[in-house]
């Protein structure tokens, strides 16, 4: 009698895609850890630079039974396999499928955002049409927190913690230096959505220090309004910290566009995502010229998404958990899905993993809902938003002390 053989069995390929995060390697670790425990998974390979590594057959064997590998990945930000921003064309889809067949790959796990979900969906569909039993599962990852169907995205809790703490530190710094540098702008990431900027409203400020002005792209704002807000805040408090998204919008007759840009992006990537000049630099110039106030801006750039010292422990654990859940889904034959996080409660915070069809995820963007957006820049988010975000920050924020 031969041992009972699982219906589905073969090699597993895993890749990382899109912008790195502080915890995307924890999802990779979760995939490797679980894959090593599933008899259906005959071999595990990591794609170098995501889908490009698939086309180029550039991958490496990875052993999830090695505890040092798992622990090392869980402590390392960025994407250890290398990432990619590449949209497969139809020829490449066929090529990719041929590669998968040739190596008997039955499980394909892509850790990424909207674009990865799209790639996974297209490969799954092509496999189905070709009669090739491929289980393609997407593992959610994005600091932008803009994937639909999941309560939140691994990566977001950590950048939210970074932004909340950095904003408090900027308010403390500005309080000390307000006689020479009263206005500070911080330009944060977040693509089309204001999730990242909104985290600044949870900055752990000591009593007596003024909250930041926070702008989110969901609410277009004219530069003139920002200047009026800054002037009013300066009159009230002698100091102003502004937090805004790198893609903060302004109204225009043609609809919202990036604030301070004349409509022309500096650069457009392979997925058609435009990159604009800095709204913070633009506002800084106008604040100096029109309000006569010294204004400086900080642009933490990619440092904010890889800052390991401010990782949310909740985010890290969840990133690991979604990686494991994706492998379990794949070996159960539940390809064509993205793993989701399903919130069961805020206090105490409880969460489970779930699955959503890739078609419901690919190329969709979840913006801040209206009930999370407050009335103005001084009260930019609501209590509902705070209840949503607080548990994701992974424990208490630092407590700072003010002298008054």
């Amino acid at each position: 009698m031969s041992p009972r053989r699982p219906v589905l069995a073969g090699a597993l390929l895993v890749g990382q895609s899109g912008g790195p995060t502080a915890v995307i390697n924890s999802s990779l670790a979760g995939v490797l850890y679980e894959a090593a425990r599933q008899p259906a998974v005959r071999a595990v390979y990591g794609l170098r630079h995501g889908i490009r590594g698939l086309l180029a057959e550039d991958w490496q064997s990875l052993d999830g039974r090695d505890p040092r590998l798992i622990a090392g990945l869980r402590a390392t930000p960025s994407a250890a396999l290398g990432s990619a921003r590449h949209r497969l064309d139809n020829t490449e889809i066929a090529q990719a499928l041929a590669v998968l067949r040739r190596h008997d790959v039955r499980f394909l796990l892509l850790i990424g955002g909207n674009d990865s979900a799209d790639t996974a969906a297209r490969l799954a569909e092509a496999a189905l049409l070709a009669g090739y039993p491929l289980q393609a599962v997407a593992v959610p990852k994005t600091i932008d927190n803009d994937l639909p169907a999941t309560d939140h995205c691994p990566g977001y809790g950590s950048i939210a913690r970074y932004v909340a703490v950095a904003t408090a530190e900027a308010v403390l710094d500005t309080a000390a230096m307000r006689q020479t540098d009263p206005v500070k702008l911080i330009e944060v990431m977040g693509r089309y959505a204001g999730w990242v900027a909104a985290a600044a409203t949870l900055a752990p400020l000591p009593a007596g220090l003024p909250p930041p002005l926070v702008y989110v792209p969901e609410r277009p704002v004219a530069a003139e309004q920002v200047l009026a807000d800054v002037e009013a805040a300066y009159r009230a408090d002698n100091q102003v910290v502004v937090v805004l998204s790198e893609n903060q919008t302004e109204p225009s007759p043609q609809g919202p566009r990036v604030l301070g840009a004349d409509g022309e992006p500096e650069w457009v990537d392979a997925f058609g995502h435009p990159y604009y000049p800095s709204p913070a630099a633009y506002l800084c110039r106008r604040i100096r010229a029109e309000l006569g106030l010294r204004a400086r801006y900080d642009k933490p750039g990619t440092l904010q998404r890889t800052a390991r010292a401010l990782v949310s422990r909740v985010d890290e654990r969840e990133a690991f958990a979604v990686g494991r859940a994706a492998v379990r889904a794949a070996v159960r034959g539940q390809g064509g899905h993205m793993v989701t996080l399903v919130r069961r409660g805020d206090v105490p915070y409880r969460v489970a993993t779930g699955l959503a069809p890739l078609a419901a995820v690919a190329n969709q963007h979840r913006l801040l809902p209206a009930e999370f957006i407050g009335p103005d820049a001084r009260a930019a988010t609501t209590l509902a938003f705070e209840a949503y975000l607080r548990p994701l920050l992974g424990g208490p924020l630092p407590e700072f002390r003010a002298l008054r």
Copy 2:
């Protein structure tokens, strides 16, 4: 019999000055803690916004016997009393002296950099001429690490830890994204000196990842040379991280000037320190245009000097210790000095406090010495620099994992 009365007794004023750091409040805590234990100190007041608070008689009573106050300050970055950049003119010196006399202030402690030492020296001299027994002591503080007479400055170890870790994280991020964003520049602080940028050479990189190119203002470099370095590094590794000072210099017929500036500062502060446009932005534009490589830059700005999550524990302890030592010096009648840190050994690291005459400190800048500067941007510092800096980082840096 009345109890023996100390020769020197009276009120103590303490102020903070110059740019904030992650640990300047630890020095304030050290002053308060020690002052509460010295019978000669009859009362303790904190100046709001440094020397401006002295002129305006704007101060608050502070009690160093309150353990929550001490612990809170030691956990809070920036300058809790408020800082200032103000140079006293001769009229103000006389005014300040009158205020000190009126309130029977016998101990004046200024926590700051070169400019505070200058202010303390001028007040001490004026008091001596006026026959008023004032003990003015400077407490060293600067992320720039450019004070003479001390082995290093409180504040430096923490920003050095920040820069080393952030550089490693930027190299990891660039490794993941090198197919779309192969070149990253990080512009750090440091004024005239390269101490802060040099810390990038201790970035905790996993084996197999290329070290950053690091430039220091002590070694002027033409933009063309930077472009050639970036191109060579890109050819070798397919990715490049550049770390440079906000005041990186280039040679010019009139002598070194800020790279990419045409000689005109954007702004000059009250001490005559010039502020220039960003060398990183300038180099980014030229790298894109002349090398055809996508280049982005991060400017962590004031976030790098207040990042509490990356405080060096050694730095924090030393900041507290120099505050205590300053009070002891003041009550012993050793005014006219700045507290220094004297290194007694590298392995194991041992340090003591000492004193240097204010005249030897005020308005002097200690640049990176020649024996700390390596041959080129790829090897920007020496083993002697590493031996100097390593103990100041306050314990092991994070260990990151690479997959190769």
